[in-house]
């Protein structure tokens, strides 16, 4: 009887096909979302098959889309309305190849589907998104989903690519064979979205009809485990079956954090079967996979037709260059050089414009308000602080544009391929480079992206070194220091870009070096095995990129308008009060007398060996919140100091700054050392918070602060002292 364990057959009315213990439980014949409850849909499928594109089209949200596997790494909930105007919940999930999760992102998908996440409702219905160019592999996951016994809607996505590859799929036949709605579409062009919404609006959806018998050698084990799971662990019958299959194929499912532990009886049965098989040498997981593939293979044979055999595709021809061991690197270097060059040349015009607007605003305030502390608060606090940082918006947008271009064309995965070799030298694999490359934009999404890494220790190593990659928040600091370092516009953009490139190189080298160190000491593990799918190249989706840029711009401005504004005001206050007894005291004397001045003097001994004075020290402290705050802090400090009738750019005020003995403060050496400090130091609250969340402890973020900032101090100390000794 055990071999009969299979999903119910909706073809007939009765439940004759069901084994008695399932039929006995009141399994709804057709699952209809109860009218009083909002139906919950889960969006699942292989990585990069277009789930998020579809999710965005349905919900109107703007979740991140990109042409490489592993863009979505956390569940995202959205709402859509049915044809009748009823709300429906949709959960977008990370891509997965199988319910037997191998990495944390796949585990999110598995746990949501199995109803193990307390913060997420268990989905009532499942939307399976398939990559039509790869039907067989897509169906493997669907096959497992069918076991869950929930109504399923299948979306055959990427039909355009399939057609181009000469693959014809008979969607009607597939629908007939599976017994669930099958919708052919191209999410990226909006095709199929209306049909999907219609299908989702149906009050009743059929359960899958596709039959598959658990292979005979395993069937008794499945039956026994299933019975124990439904009786001892209170699982609904079909979930029990799916979970039984999962427990037998995936060791990790047993110890999932946060899920309720299995009953002793179930664990006992599981162990007994495993031991028995180990003794017999039965490869149960292989048998199970093969059996599923056999049934899928027959299905695919009947519903697909190859209209022509494919020669090398365009992607193959492009790949011949882009992942070539010589040309590939050349292209990679060119892309990077182009990025830095455009940051200096293209951004110049909008930056100058914003600069002049900020100055004009300052002048306007000065001319309209009467002199006094309130006016100074506006000009020296708010405008100098926030304005000083907003001018760097164009550069940040250019950076995000480039990263967006890499992500949406499919180059990201190629960079991972190219980097696999150097990464293997430090003990990681090429996949770890995707989070690192993403960290050039911002370490937070980069650290999230490490969820695609299978090995826990490798993932931790990647998290630890990711913030060393120079992120967009360092950009304003680098740019300000380069501007102070190299006065005048006479110098070619190439030199400035070169210095910047050096800083990025330093950060990247640091990341590799520390990864090497950690893999050999703290987090030793065997060299990882990498399997990475390279998606076909796609033309860049400028709409998606622009959307993402607008989002980042908004975030940047919001930060400037809230955190940076607040810090600037507080800092202005701290640099203005208490007032020097002599009202005619020079701004220099006044600021030294202020709270900030006194506090700065306390830490000065610590940073003086690096060539920094207490004013820079104040910037180092405030920029613990976020690196770009350094720039606004310099704006406030040197704005306050510059006195009343000056709205010149900060860099001019900084260039004029001197030590008490009259020696210039921002010598070229100090500017460089300060940049190096920001390359290495851990100066970002949000990163600390995300590392805490992702590693589930304070240990690693604290360690990260210690090792990064410690390194920053040591490297800067060495660089400054060496520079001084050489006469700079």
């Amino acid at each position: 009887m055990a071999a009969n364990v299979r999903p119910p057959d909706p073809g007939a009315d009765g439940r004759g096909d069901l084994p008695p213990h399932i039929a006995a439980a009141s399994l709804p014949r057709r699952a209809s979302p109860a009218s009083e409850r909002t139906p919950v849909y889960a969006m699942v499928g292989n990585p990069n098959c277009g789930k998020t594109t579809l999710f965005n089209a349905l919900t109107g949200l703007r979740q991140k889309v990109g042409n490489y596997p592993g863009v979505t790494v956390e569940k995202k909930i959205g709402e859509a309305y049915s044809q009748h105007g009823r709300p429906m919940k949709i959960i977008d999930l990370p891509g997965a190849y199988s319910l037997a999760a191998r990495s944390p992102d796949e585990a999110v998908t598995r746990d949501v589907l199995l109803g193990r996440r307390a913060d997420t409702p268990q989905p009532d219905r499942v939307i399976c998104v398939l990559d039509a160019t790869n039907l067989e592999r897509s169906l493997y996951f669907v096959h497992q989903i069918f076991d869950l016994g929930r109504p399923v809607i299948v979306v055959l996505n990427m039909m355009d690519l399939a057609q181009r590859a000469g693959i014809e799929i008979d969607a009607r036949e597939l629908e007939a064979r599976l017994g669930v709605p099958v919708i052919a579409g191209e999410a990226v062009h909006g095709r199929g979205v209306v049909e999907l919404r219609l299908a989702m609006s149906r009050a009743e959806l059929p359960l899958p009809r596709h039959r598959w018998d658990v292979p005979a050698p395993i069937a008794p084990a499945v039956a026994e485990l299933q019975a124990s799971l439904s009786e001892g662990d209170g699982r609904p019958p079909l979930v029990a079956r799916a979970e039984a299959l999962l427990l037998l194929t995936d060791f990790d499912t047993v110890r999932v954090a946060g899920s309720t532990p299995l009953s002793a009886r179930t664990t006992g049965i599981l162990d007994a079967w495993r031991q028995r098989w180990a003794g017999q040498g039965t490869d149960w997981s292989g048998t199970l996979i093969k059996s599923r593939y056999d049934s899928i293979h027959r299905l695919c044979h009947d519903v697909t037709r190859r209209t022509r055999t494919q020669g090398p595709s365009l992607s193959d021809r492009v790949d011949a260059i882009l992942i070539h061991s010589v040309w590939g690197w050349l292209v990679f270097a060119t892309i990077m050089a182009l990025l830095f060059f455009s940051i200096f040349t293209l951004a110049e015009y909008p930056m100058n414009w914003i600069d002049s607007q900020v100055a004009a605003l300052g002048d306007w305030v000065k001319s309209t308000m009467s002199a006094g502390d309130l006016r100074d608060l506006f000009t020296d606090g708010v405008i100098a602080g926030v304005g000083g940082i907003v001018v760097f918006l164009p550069q940040i947008l250019i950076l995000f544009f480039f990263v967006g271009l890499l992500e949406s064309t499919g180059y990201m995965a190629r960079a991972a391929f190219l980097m696999d070799r150097p990464m293997s030298r430090v003990g990681l694999h090429g996949k770890s480079f995707i989070p690192l490359l993403g960290s050039y934009a911002c370490a937070i999404p980069g650290i999230m992206a490490t969820r695609t890494i299978e090995d826990a220790k490798d993932r931790l190593v990647t998290i630890l070194v990711a913030p060393l990659m120079s992120c967009s928040a360092r950009l304003p600091v680098y740019l300000l220091m380069i501007a102070t370092l190299l006065p005048g516009d006479a110098l070619p953009a190439g030199t400035k870009a070169g210095i910047m490139l050096l800083m990025y190189f330093l950060g990247t080298a640091g990341a590799f070096g520390f990864a090497w160190l950690f893999k050999r000491t703290l987090l030793r593990s065997s060299p990882p095995l990498m399997i990475l799918e390279l998606p076909p190249y796609q033309p860049p989706r400028f709409k998606d990129i622009l959307r993402h840029m607008v989002e980042r711009a908004w975030l940047f401005l919001k930060n400037a308008g809230t955190i940076i504004l607040a810090i600037s005001i507080v800092l202005w206050f701290l640099t203005t009060y208490p007032k020097h007894p002599d009202p005619a005291a020079s701004p220099d004397v006044q600021i030294a007398h202020s709270f900030a001045g006194q506090a700065g003097k306390v830490i000065e001994p610590l940073i003086k060996p690096l060539g920094f004075d207490w004013r820079i020290g104040i910037g180092l402290i405030t920029s613990f919140a976020a690196r770009e705050v350094f720039v606004s802090s310099m704006g406030v400090i040197f704005g306050v100091q510059a006195g009343d009738d000056n709205t010149a750019p900060i860099r001019d005020a900084m260039r004029a700054a001197v030590w008490p003995d009259g020696a210039p403060l921002f010598t070229p050496l100090v500017c460089l050392v300060l940049m190096v400090y920001y390359v290495f130091a851990m100066q970002c609250m949000s990163t600390i918070a995300i590392v805490k969340r992702e590693t589930n402890s304070w240990r690693w973020p604290l360690f990260q602060i210690a090792y990064m900032t410690g390194t920053a101090w040591l490297v800067c100390f060495a660089a400054y002292q060496a520079g001084r000794a050489l006469g700079f």
Binding site: S315, L529, I531
Partner: protein, 84 residues
């Protein structure tokens, strides 16, 4: 069995442009399972596109990158150049 012995070697040694058939997976259990789940298991045809330390292969129309360790643990029999 056919008369000429078919050379059996790890995937990383398959020359670029040649096709082989997967005959055995070594390596840890989780890895083997995933390779099979991706349709890359025993009997799958795999064409090496390029690569020395990191390999790029074509399996069932998908491009899959494998690092050296992964390519070492997949054993293939070389098929004659014409068979594709």
């Amino acid at each position: 069995m056919s008369s000429a012995p078919i050379p059996l070697s790890p995937l990383c040694q398959l020359p670029a442009g040649r096709t082989g058939r997967v005959t055995r997976l070594t390596g840890d259990e989780g890895f083997c399972q995933r390779i099979r789940e991706m349709g890359f298991g025993e009997a799958a045809l795999v064409t090496k596109i390029s690569g020395s330390s990191t390999s790029l292969c074509l399996v069932n129309g998908m491009r899959i990158a494998l690092n050296h360790g992964a390519a070492m643990s997949i054993l293939v029999e070389h098929l004659p150049a014409a068979a594709r």
